[in-house]
Symmetry: C2
Subunit: 252 residues, 2 copies
């Protein structure tokens, strides 16, 4: 059984449990500004050979000695983005060796933590929040933060593009199981167009308007208000609100 | 702001990134024997003060230097349970400090890997398989394995009881989103009673028989066969099969 022997030889070379590795958390905070799904990213400054350049990354950190991953994720958002007591859902761990294939990422991290880095396993968290279209950039804890369109964030640090794609898959899955997740992203009053646009952004494809109107009527928990948009160039659209009591009735 | 200062002091004491920690994978393999949902566990032998005792644990292992977590999970099932090329879904990472609060677990692991263990972050995988009621115990790779009822597995190693509970939650969530997961657990031909029992085991409560019959009729992809049970004491029940083509039509 040559094949099996070969496997065994390979295993003997490499079957040492990992020692020089680290555990981190990364937070994917997603908002909807009425037109686009956006992810919260922070600017990373890299100094190399006297030059300074920058890119973007997810808020994240290695976890501390006495810290659980869930607490580390809360700390990260508070320290790096000024966001407190967020609702966070752990959605996936990323531990591929490829995570640290970009030498610049490794150098940046080793300089920051003053430690040798081999592999970093990160536990990724997702948070859905309400954002306004005006709130596109801010600073917190000495960091520059930006809301960037989730479908085109540019080339990010480490495997953060992959993490964001997986977060989007999780959002899709969650919305399919339970539409309540939609209303975590929408303002307290919203137009039918905003709800449809949100669906389209999550699923990455246009919805037929008539089908959507039918769907909206079936959603008895989306209640029309006697309020309309103001100061708009087009015909003022009606506002709706999410009715949680009605919603809970449909889920029994 | 006394409160904030206190936080800062705490952080200074403990804000060293973790160094003596390890990364493992654990596999929750779940099957349904027609009556109960069962999880695959292996016997762990603990030697202490000249005595030997044992308990049960999930198949699992620290990951190796050149191994990605997904490959480690496949290796674990092949090496420890003789199961090859399984369909595995990563469902959650567990990294609480409490994971190693039982000194016996730490001693057992330190003896096995000949290394100091502080914290182990484990990435947990789920696999749904078809099992037969006769196949309740077997050996593989020098391990004794058993299919144990998932709702009463006894006190397991580390936090494996918690991991199994989270796996059950994930199964519930997956079945709600997509009933195809049910048929991964059922034999190729199954009775209506088996399907109902499976629902009941997953949701942990009895279903009303009439409601279930209605539900069954709506599931156009559950197709009655012209075959009936044989050699049974009660009235022979009809067999059904899962029709994937029909199923795909309903999911469009």
């Amino acid at each position: 059984m040559h094949c099996i022997n070969q496997n065994k030889i390979q295993m003997t070379d490499h079957n040492t449990p990992l020692a020089h590795h680290h555990i981190s958390v990364d937070c994917v905070v997603v908002g909807f500004d009425g037109e686009q799904l956006k992810v919260l990213l922070l600017k990373r400054i890299i100094k190399e050979d006297g030059n300074e350049y920058h890119d973007m990354k997810l808020p994240g950190s290695l976890i501390y000695q006495d810290e659980d991953p869930d607490s580390a994720a809360q700390r990260v958002l508070e320290e790096q983005a000024g966001l407190k007591r967020m609702t966070l859902e752990q959605f996936k761990a990323f531990g591929s060796r490829d995570r640290t294939k970009n030498i610049k990422d490794v150098q940046w991290l080793e300089r920051a933590i003053k430690m040798k880095v081999d592999r970093i396993v990160t536990i990724a968290y997702l948070s859905l929040v309400k954002i306004s279209s005006s709130n596109t950039a801010f600073t917190a804890g000495g960091n520059e933060l930006r809301w960037i369109p989730i479908d085109n964030p540019g080339e990010l640090a480490f495997d953060h593009n992959i993490i964001i794609n997986e977060a989007l898959k999780r959002i899709r899955q969650s919305v399919s199981t339970d539409p309540i997740y939609l209303f975590q992203l929408l303002p307290h009053k919203f137009t039918a167009l905003q709800l449809r646009t949100l669906f389209e952004r999550i699923y990455g494809k246009a919805l037929d308007v008539r089908n959507f109107q039918k769907k909206l009527k079936q959603m008895t928990y989306v209640v029309p208000l006697d309020e309309y948009e103001k100061n708009v160039a087009h015909r003022a659209a009606r506002y709706y609100r999410f009715d949680k009591v009605e919603y809970n009735k449909t889920r029994r």
